[in-house]
Amino acid sequence: MNIMIILLIVLPLIIGILIFFLKKLEYLLSIFTSLILFLLSINLLFFENRIVEIKWVSEFGINFVFNADLYSVFSIILATLFVLLISLYSGTKNLFVDNTKKHIYFSLIMINLGIINGIFLSTNLVTFLIFWELAGIVLYLAIRFLAKKDNEIIATKTLYITGFVDFCLLLGIIMLIKISGTVSMRPFNYMLNSPYTITMFIFLVIGALGKVGSLPFHTWIPSAAERVPVPVATYLISVVDKLLGIYLLYKICGEIFLLKPNNGLMIIGLITIISAVFMALVQHDLKKLLSYHAVSQVGYMILGIGSGTVVGLAGGVFHMINNVIYKSCLFLSCGSVESMTGNSDLTDNGGLAKFMPITFITTLISALAISGVPPLNGFFSKWMVYQGVVESFSKTHSLVPILCLIGAMFGSALTLASFLKVVYSIFLSSPLNKNDKSEIKEVSFNMLLPMIFLSVSCIILGVFAFEIPLKQVIYPILSFSNIITKNIFSGSWQPVISTALIISGIFLGVVIYLILSFNKRSRLVKTYLYGEEEKFEGTVLPGTDFYISITEKEPFATIYFLARKKFFDFYNWAIGLVGMISRLLKFLFDRKIFDLYYIGKKIVFVISKFLSSLHRGNLHGYMSWIVIGLAIILLFLLK
C-alpha cells in the first residue's frame, strides 16, 4: 500500500529522466507508464490507510508526509488520465515544431506528473511548497525548450511571474506555520479578522491565483500558448495549472480559512471573466483565443469559491473539472486542425467540417459546453456558481455579488459569441484562399480517441450531473473538509428530465419538418440582386470580421488599442518599475558623495590642508605659535 503512494510520485520521475537520456521509445514508455499510474490511482480509492511518512529535515518538522485525502485522489486520477490521453494524442509527427525535441516533451510531461502527484499528496506544507515550485521550473523548461520564436523571452517572463507568485506563497505558508504551530495542512478555519491573518490570506491567495492564471498574473499564458506545441499548451496550461491552482484556492478558502463571502476574490473573478473574454473575442489565432478563454473561465471558478457558500465552492471545483475537460478537448481539436492544415489561424482555415467531421463535432460539443449551453456540463457548473453568488448576496446584502452575477452571465454570452466565430470560420465558412484541400482528411485514431472521450464526458457530466460528479466526487470532497453538503441548492434544474425534453423537442421538430416537407416542394432560387451585377461570387464573410466593429467603437477602441500596446500587461509595468527604481537608486546613491571612501578622503584632506597651512616654514608664524602656546601653558599653570 505505502509503496503505491510513493510509486505515484517516483515512477513518473524515473521514467521521465529515463526518456530524457534514452531519446527513443518515448511514446510507448509514457503511454505505458501513465496507464499503470492511472490504474494505481484508481486503486488508491479503495484503501483506507493512505498515509506515508518519510523523514527528511525532521528537526524542523519537514518530512515527506503523504496523505491522500479524497480531493488529492480525484486530482491524481484526473491528472494521470489526462497524461494518458495526451500521450496517446501526441504520437503524431507534425504536432511539434521540432521532432528532435519530442523526447524532451515526453520527459517533461512525465516529470511534471510526478511533481504534481507530489503536490496533491503532500500534507506537509513545506514539501508541498517544494513540489509546487518545482512545477513552475518544469513549466519554464517546457516553454524554453519546446516553444518556437522568442521562447527564451516568454520562458523568462513565465519564470519571473511564477517565481514572484511562489515567493509570495512561501511567505504565506511560513506565516501559516507560525500561527498554527504545525507544518501539516488541515482545516484550521481561521477568521479574517486581524492584520496578520489578512496578510497571510493575501499572500496565500496570490500563490493560488498566480498558478491558476487569473488577472493580473495571466499575461504569460496567451503568449506562451501561442508558441508552444498544442499538447504542451493542453497539458501544462489548461490542465495542470487549473488543477493545482484551484486545489490550493479550495484549501485556502475552504480549509485554512473559514468559508465566508469574499468580495475581493469575487471582483478578481469578475474582472478576469470580462477582460479575458473581451480579448478572446477579437483574436485571430485559435490557440491564442483558447488561451484567453482559459483565463476567462478561471474567473468563474474564483467567483464560485469567492462567493463563500457551499454551493459556490462545489460549483467552483466542479467548474474546474469541467473546464479541464472541455478546454483540453478544444485545444486538442485545435491541434488536429493545425496538424492537418499547418496553422491555427482563423482566416487561413475554413470549411473543414466536410473533411474532418469528427473533429467538427467534438469542437462543437466542447464549444457549447464552455459557453454554458444546457444540458452540457459547463452549464451546470456555471449554474452552481451563479447560485453561490446569489446566496452570497442574501448573506451580505452588498452590491458586489449582484454586479458579479450580471457580469458573469454577460461573459458567458460573449463566450458563446466568440465560439460561434471559431466554429463558423474554421469549420463552416469557405476559406479565403482556396488551397488544395485534397490532403486534408480526418486525423488518425490515436488523436481522435482522446477528443471523443472528452466530448462524451462533457455530455455525461452535464446530463448526469447530480448522479455522477456531484454525489461521487464533489460531495465526498467537501465532507472530507468538514463542510456540510445537505440541501445546498436553492434553484431546481433536473438535467436528465431537461435533456429528455430537449431531445424530444428536437425529435418533434424533425418530425414536423419531415411532415411539412412532404406537402410542399421547396425550390432553389437565385438571390435577387436588384438587377445589379453579381459581384459577390466567391467572396465570403470571414469569421474574423464578426466582432471587428467592437474594436472601432469608443471606448472599446481605446481599450483594445491599449491592450495591443501591452498597456494592461502588469508584468511589463512591474519590470519597468523595478528598472526605474534601480536606475534612480544607482543615479542618486551609487555615486561618490555617498561613498564612505570618498567622504573619508575629503575629511582627511581638509584637516590635513588646515594643519599643513599652519606649517608653512615661516619663522614669524612659528614664533607666534610658540608665544601663543606659552601663554596658554602659563594660563593653565597659574590657575
Partner: protein, 467 residues
C-alpha cells in the same frame, strides 16, 4: 579525545600558515601551486575528521579551556569545512587560470596565508587573537586585489583595505570598551554578558565593513578587478564571510545584544538587501553584478542572525554554506566566460549556451540556488531565514525579504539570459577541463545540499550550545 581534537585544531591552522612561508621561498612554479593545494587540502581533511569526531562523540569542548585561546563548536566546524573546501577548489581552479602570470609564488603565498588566517579566526576564542587574524586577512586581500599591479587595481585594493581598516579600527575600540567593562577578552568568559550600546555599535561597524554592508559596501564592487579566483575567494569563502561569522560568534552565541540593536541590524540588512539588489539589476559588468549580489545575500545572513530565533540562526549558518558554494560557482563560471571571451560586459555577451553548455548549466544551477529555488541548497537557507523573521514577529521585514528574493531572481536571470541566451556573438570553446570540473562540482554540491540539507542542519542542531 578532547586533547587530540584540540591539537587537531592547532594543526589545521598551522599547516597553511607555516606552509605559506615555504611557498614564498620556493621559486619553482609548479611546486607553488601543488604545495598550496596540498596544505589547504590537509586542513580540509582534518576539518572533516573533526566533523566526524563531533558527529559521533557528541562532545563538549568548552570545559574551561582558557589557556588555549582556541575552541571548537559545531558552528566553527561547519564554517571551517565550507571555507577550506571552497578554497581548495578555488586553488585547483587557479592552476589553469593563473598559469600565464608571473609571481606565482607570491600569489599562492597570499592565498594560502589568507585561508590559514581565516581558519585561525574561525577557531579563536580570544578577541585579540581574532583581531590579529582579522588584520592578516585584510593585508592578504589588499595584496591579492592589487595582484595585477595596474593603477586601477592598486586603487581598488587601497580602497578595500582602507574601508575595512576603518571598520576594524572601530572594532578594536569597541573591544577595548568591552575589556574595560568585563576585564576579559575571552569569549567563553563573556558568554551571556550584557554589552554597552556604544561598544556594540563599534564592533558591528567592523563586521559590516568586512562583510560589505551599507554604508561600508563600496569597496566590494571595485574589488572585482582582482583575478577571478581571488574575487571568488573574497566573496565565497574567506573575506566577506568573516563579518557574518564573527557577528554570529559574538552577538548571537556569546553576548546578549539589546532588542533595539537587533531591530537596527534587521532594518539595516533589509536596506542593504533591497538597495544592492536593485543596483545589481542595472549594472552591466558581470563581476560587479555578482558583487552587489553578494552584498545583498550577506544581508540575509545578518537578518537571520539578528532575529535571535533558533530557526533563523540555523538558517543563517546554512545560508553561509549554501551562499558560499553557489557564489563561488557563479564567480568561477564568470571567470570561465571572461577567460574565454575576454569580455565582462553582459550586454556584449550572448548565446554562450550553444558553445559553453557546461558553464551554462553550472551557472544556472548556482544562480537558482542563490535565488532560492527548491532542491537547491538556497531554498532551505532562505526558507529558514524568512521563518526566523516571521517567528520574531516582524512581518514587514519578512515582506521586504521576500521582495529582495524576487529582485534576486530578476537580476540573476537577467545575467543568465544576457550571457547565455540570445543570438550567438562569440565563437569560443569551453576551456579548460579543470575549471569546468570545479564549477560543475559546485553546482552539483548545491543540489546535494538541497536534497540532503540535514547533513549540515542535524549537525548544527546537535550542538546544544548553539541555542
Amino acid at each position: 579525545m578532547e586533547v587530540m581534537d584540540n591539537n587537531l585544531v592547532n594543526i589545521i591552522i598551522a599547516v597553511p600558515i607555516l606552509g605559506s612561508v615555504l611557498i614564498l621561498l620556493l621559486k619553482e612554479r609548479d611546486w607553488n601551486k601543488i604545495l598550496s593545494s596540498i596544505f589547504v587540502f590537509v586542513s580540509f581533511v582534518l576539518v572533516v575528521v573533526l566533523y566526524y569526531n563531533s558527529f559521533s562523540n557528541n562532545f563538549s569542548f568548552q570545559k574551561e579551556h582558557r589557556t588555549t585561546y582556541l575552541f571548537i563548536d559545531n558552528y566553527a566546524i561547519v564554517m571551517a569545512l565550507v571555507s577550506s573546501f571552497i578554497s581548495f577548489l578555488i586553488i585547483l581552479y587557479s592552476y589553469s587560470y593563473m598559469k600565464s602570470y608571473d609571481r606565482q609564488n607570491e600569489y599562492y603565498f597570499y592565498v594560502t596565508l589568507f585561508i590559514g588566517s581565516m581558519l585561525g579566526l574561525i577557531f579563536s576564542s580570544d578577541l585579540i587573537l581574532m583581531y590579529i587574524f582579522w588584520e592578516i586577512t585584510s593585508i592578504c586581500s589588499w595584496k591579492l586585489i592589487s595582484f595585477y599591479k595596474k593603477e586601477q587595481h592598486i586603487f581598488a585594493a587601497n580602497k578595500a583595505f582602507l574601508i575595512t581598516f576603518l571598520g576594524s579600527a572601530m572594532m578594536l575600540l569597541g573591544i577595548s570598551i568591552l575589556f574595560a567593562d568585563h576585564r576579559t577578552f575571552n569569549l567563553i568568559d563573556l558568554k551571556g554578558r550584557r554589552i554597552s550600546d556604544l561598544a556594540m555599535l563599534l564592533i558591528f561597524c567592523g563586521m559590516i565593513s568586512k562583510s560589505a554592508q551599507v554604508p561600508f559596501h563600496t569597496w566590494l564592487p571595485e574589488a572585482g578587478v582582482a583575478p577571478t579566483p581571488v574575487t571568488a575567494l573574497l566573496h565565497a569563502a574567506v573575506l566577506v564571510k568573516i563579518g557574518v561569522y564573527t557577528f554570529g560568534r559574538i552577538f548571537v552565541f556569546t553576548l546578549l545584544p539589546s532588542p533595539v540593536f537587533q531591530n537596527f541590524v534587521m532594518w539595516l540588512s533589509l536596506l542593504t538587501i533591497l538597495f544592492s539588489g536593485l543596483v545589481a539589476y542595472v549594472e552591466k559588468d558581470i563581476k560587479r553584478i555578482l558583487a552587489y549580489s553578494t552584498i545583498s545575500q550577506i544581508g540575509y545572513i545578518f537578518l537571520g542572525f539578528a532575529t535571535n530565533v533558533y530557526i533563523g540562526i540555523i538558517g543563517s549558518i546554512f545560508y553561509i554554506v549554501s551562499h558560499g558554494i553557489a557564489k563561488a560557482g557563479l564567480f568561477l563560471a564568470a571567470g570561465v566566460i571572461e577567460h574565454n571571451t575576454h569580455e565582462r560586459d553582459i550586454t556584449k555577451l550572448g548565446g554562450l549556451y550553444h558553445t559553453m553548455p557546461i558553464t551554462s548549466i553550472a551557472f544556472l544551477l548556482c544562480a537558482m540556488s542563490v535565488i532560492g529555488f527548491p532542491l537547491l541548497s538556497g531554498f532551505f537557507a532562505k526558507f529558514f531565514v524568512v521563518s526566523g523573521i516571521v517567528a520574531s514577529g516582524k512581518i514587514f521585514i519578512a515582506v521586504g525579504a521576500i521582495l529582495g528574493a524576487v529582485i534576486t531572481m530578476l537580476y540573476l536571470l537577467r545575467v543568465y539570459n544576457k550571457v547565455f541566451l540570445g543570438e550567438k556573438k562569440f565563437e569560443v570553446r569551453e576551456e579548460t577541463k579543470i575549471m569546468l570540473f570545479v564549477i560543475i562540482l559546485l553546482g552539483i554540491i548545491s543540489i546535494i545540499l538541497g536534497i540532503f540539507p540535514q547533513t549540515i542542519i542535524n549537525f548544527l542542531v546537535k550542538d546544544s550550545k548553539l541555542i
